[in-house]
């Protein structure tokens, strides 16, 4: 009987680990779909007109904040609908008033409006060179997880994280040609963004050890959407006299024209993606959870290619052989962080029982 108990126990543990890794990778896949539908929405309807006509720095900031606001608000609505269906909407309000709930709100503000705005500013100033710097969020997440929440971290894991970082850089086709003082400042801003996402991943992941992850994510998306729409967008709009770029006009057009459907879809994917990111981090620890999620560096371009390139027929979204190879290198890096044999993670139950 003891032997059976030990075998069952081992099976339960490996199932938990495998489930955690798969959920964390799915967070990267759904993040890819979220990016694809958001990019598609930004290139259609009223958004195409805005992005075509408004090219100043402040206009791009406003449009990107408004695009996030639209996505996050709709994503928050999806998350609440999910809780209502499950009969747990009451827990949403009960959790909101507690310490972990407030912690989740802070995470949402740091990782949402703050980090995302930094990302857009950095990208504008530095170009694609800032993308791998923003990817350092996995390193910050792992360090915070280790020092604040007693999570395991060793040399192999750190090497694995940097391998993932390297592949993400290659997939993003990073160009180092544009090195200037402005690009340097862009890199510093990207570092703030990486720190923001690192804090969010580690603290949000730990938070879901106390809060049910679906409630946690409803809090995250509603807070991010609210702060983006009610604070960030109006504040940014105050810096331009352009009548098109005023909160009321943006709101009516973003939510009241058919293009909103793309944001409803991207919002749904982002709700699932963030829920799985927090859940994956809470199951695997921030280090492994965040590099698995970091596979969005591949899934983003991949989903853009499928959705925008193949299905919607826009040009310029195909993937090259180098990107596919870099994706394989990334799998190796993820496996190093998890101390895993990548093939074992996906092996079926029958195979495992024979071990």
């Amino acid at each position: 009987m003891d032997k059976i108990a030990v075998a069952l126990k081992r099976q339960a543990e490996s199932y938990f680990m495998r489930k955690g890794v798969i959920i964390a990778i799915l967070s990267g896949v759904t993040y890819g779909f979220y990016t694809a539908f958001l990019t598609l929405g930004d290139a259609r309807g009223v958004w195409a007109d805005w992005y075509g006509a408004k090219t100043t720095f402040i206009a791009l900031l406003i449009l990107s904040a408004m695009s996030s606001a639209t996505n996050d608000c709709l994503s928050g609505i999806w998350s609440i609908v999910n809780l209502i269906i499950k009969g747990e909407a009451g827990d949403f309000f009960r959790t909101l008033k507690t310490r972990p709930g407030i912690m989740m709100c802070l995470c949402a503000v740091i990782g949402g409006p703050v980090a995302s705005t930094c990302y857009v500013v950095a990208l504008q100033m530095g170009g694609s060179v800032i993308v791998p710097i923003a990817s350092l969020n996995a390193v910050f997440g792992a360090l915070i997880g280790h020092f604040a929440f007693r999570q395991h971290l060793d040399r192999n894991m750190i090497i694995g994280i940097f391998i993932c970082l390297f592949s993400a850089t290659v997939i993003g086709g990073t160009s180092f040609a544009r090195i200037s003082v402005e690009a340097g400042i862009g890199c510093l801003v990207a570092l703030i963004c990486a720190l923001g996402w690192g804090i969010e991943g580690a603290v949000g992941g730990f938070g879901t050890a106390l809060i049910d992850y679906q409630i946690g994510i409803a809090i995250r998306q509603c807070t991010a959407g609210f702060v983006n729409l009610v604070i960030l967008v109006p504040v940014l709009c105050a810096f331009t006299p352009d009548p098109d770029l005023q909160t009321g006009n943006l709101f009516v057009n973003a939510f009241g024209t058919p293009v909103v459907i793309f944001f409803a879809i991207s919002g749904l994917f982002s709700a699932v993606s963030y829920a799985f990111w927090y859940k994956g981090n809470s199951m695997c620890g921030a280090a492994l959870g965040m590099v698995c999620n970091g596979s969005y560096a591949f899934w983003g371009p991949f989903c853009c290619w499928v959705i925008i390139g193949l299905i919607a027929g826009d040009e310029g979204y195909s993937l090259g052989i180098v990107q596919w190879l870099a994706a394989l290198v990334m799998v190796y890096g993820i496996a190093m962080v998890g101390g895993l044999n990548p093939l074992e993670v996906f092996r079926n139950k029958g195979g495992e029982a024979k071990q």
């Binding site: 108990a5 938990f16 747990e88 310490r99 007693r150 050890a209 809060i211």
Partner: protein, 88 residues
């Protein structure tokens, strides 16, 4: 009434050790209608808490129907965090 996950952590903190089955038995009167108060969901909540160093495993055994029963207890760090973050 506390959110279900808080109630689970508080309950485990209040006893010497508890399995998912114990948690469900203890919380059923108040949270019986919750879909997350299922054996697999509660077991997962406990395993997540363990992965985040809040709980330790105390022992495991086979139940009457041959199912695995794992018992968890709150450690010092877990007790500190639960007290700090989850107020009554």
């Amino acid at each position: 009434m506390k959110p279900l996950n808080y109630a689970i952590m508080k309950y485990v903190d209040s006893v010497t050790e508890a399995s998912a089955e114990d948690v469900i038995k203890a919380l059923s009167p108040e949270y019986g209608r919750y879909r997350m108060l299922r054996p697999d969901a509660v077991e997962e909540a406990l395993m997540v808490a363990k992965a985040n160093a809040l709980l330790d495993e105390s022992r495991f055994e086979l139940g009457e129907n041959g199912e695995l029963r794992v018992f968890y207890k709150v450690n010092e760090y877990g007790h500190y965090m639960i007290e700090k973050f989850i107020r009554d």
